[in-house]
């Protein structure tokens, strides 16, 4: 199990990437910053960075608009 934004629980699976987490959460926003256990993950690594079990994932959406 991993924790997203210190609130949502997500079932962990082997080789789960950051992109898998974003897909599962439905996070399609263009201005996103992701950290896994407080480590910043660059955009180009979303589909290769493997999220470990029990990880704390932060998906920070930068507000815009209106």
């Amino acid at each position: 199990m991993i924790t997203v934004n210190n609130r949502d629980q997500l079932e962990w699976s082997p080789n789960m990437t950051v992109q898998d987490v974003l897909n599962h959460m439905g996070h399609t926003y263009s201005l996103i910053t992701v950290t896994v256990n407080d480590k910043l993950v660059e955009d180009e690594d979303y589909d290769s960075f493997v999220v470990p079990d029990h990880a704390f994932v932060s998906v920070f959406h930068l507000a815009h608009g209106g």
């Binding site: 934004n5 290769s48 815009h64 209106g66």
Partner: protein, 671 residues
Amino acid sequence: METKKIPLTINGIETTVVKGTTLLNAINKLNIDIPTLCHHKDLTPNGSCRLCMCEISMDGKKELVTSCNYPITHSITVETENEKVKKHRKNLSLMYLGRYPNVPVIKDLAKRCEAYDANLFKSEITEESTNACILCGRCVRACEEFIQEKILSFAGRGINRHLTMPFNEVDPHCVGCTSCAYVCPTGAIQIVDQMNNPANPELIRNHGMKVNAEMANLDPYQCRMREVGTANIVEVMDKYDLLPVHNYKFGQHVDTPKIDSKVMKNHYFTQGHPDQCWHGCSMACAKAVDGFKLKTGPYKGHKVCVDGPEYETAGGCSNMGCFDIDFVVEFNFYCDTYGIDTISMGTTMAFVMEAFEAGVITTKDTNGLKLNFGACNEVLTCLHQLSQGEGFGVEVGQGVKFLKEKWSKQKPQFKNFLYDIGMEAKGLEYSEYMCKESLAQQAGYTLALKGPQHDEAWLIFMDMVNNQIPSFEDKAEALYYFPLFRTWFGLQGLCKIVWNDVSPADNKKHPPQQAAKIPEHVDNYWKFFEGMTGIKLDEEKMLNQSARVHNLQKIIGLMLGRNKLIDDIPPYRAVGPVTKEEYTSRSERYDKELKEKIGIDPTPLSIEEKMQKIREYRMHQYHKVMQAAFKRRGWDEFGIPKIERLKELGIDRPEFIQILEKARQEAREQN
């Protein structure tokens, strides 16, 4: 899984880069210096100066390539300084030196490439000036890429090639963005400042250019403001369950793609050039639809130009359940033409539609109009009636507050329902964000002194999606900073859009609380202010400028008998589910809230009982965040500024204190 990283070797050093990275960027990443003239970090590379040439080896084959515009797609070996490359650069440098012998960047380049004889390749035309144009073309590209114009271009051939404007005259389309001067490596283009006597025009220009560069390089991958303007938010809000639908009952709808930015871009927007709403701004977020044939109203059959639609207009239409793009554009046009705010009209009509569907009002009340959600033609009829001062439109034009008070008197059995669903505060209709799942957004809207307008309410993502302001104190701090920052824009007459509708590439280096402020862009605004006034700003000084006005607004409101505690309480629709269908649409969320946050097992409860428990809890939470926000603002429990706060801000005039103490006494008696 296919990797995006490509291994390569540069001067014997092994490294990896993201596929598609230019060779020059890969070289620079290793801090290897190679000369360039036409290259600029903020412009699309074009390889015209040929100085960045390197030799690459791939599959046993060697070739010279210009590194600035060579995208790395396969593993290669690179040499940046072998004899062949050095000879090539030296010859080029000699030719540059032969034509521009006194230009500092050329002299530096020649020295770097060991090219010393200016007469070896002497040009037929020698430019003796120290700031001669070297025809690098940066300015031409900057004009097109930064500002989407083609004010500058080359004319002539061979040695007669030169830079010019159309017909050799100053082009009226030039918006004065100064991009050309910013990228010019020699100083051949210089800006003459003649406007408003700014204290430091260079400071303004330099920071404005940062915005221009970000727009050119980052906006296409971020918010697409140049492409579709604020309409990009339609699909974002729908995706995140925040788009108001059916008078804020719901946050998304299956028909949203019919009115989203893709539809507007593909079939409607015809204008997207800088309209100079902010002189020199390269964002060009204003969009327009040309040749739109109207189907109703006094201009029926006319082909017109429509300014928009922007997000809030589309959001107003989704709120009315009107997912017809032709309707959105026509609604936009007639609201503009009649001088009516699309937000207030959309929110008011959504309220009317819900009241109609709930049976609170009937066709007897609407002069025969069947105002169900999605009744596009009837909305336009109301709009035209409003402009003519006739029919039911006259009542609609007076807004939600008027309607709910009137209908509550006529039909008191519906009073509670009408006050729950009437989305206004302080007499102003809510703007188009569905806020019931974000406590901070509810307070941002409702505690805004002018009413729930979106420019002071900014916390929906920080709170609801990111969960980055979990405590009441966190929310109160955000409710202090962001509304005052937004107020500050208004005070200075500066546009908000370039604050956070484009974000610096390295904004991720900041922790989330800081990143949300976009520190580099806040600094841009401080530099604009300093450049105009000569006065340096910091966060405290900036916020206090706003806080003075904010507190004065509050004092004036109290003097007029407004801005009381009751005015800071939202209609319940802004806080939680009013109807069973709303509860059912998010029952998993609400049942979880009952169980985990309130400590009640929802299983044996009826929907009505569950709704009541949720309501009590959420309103209690709202009151707590409201009090936390009051405290942070330096106000008392009635939301009235304390005298100490006025002293801090230097606005403790006796007449103001008298107004506050009178209001405080009345509040104590009433609450």
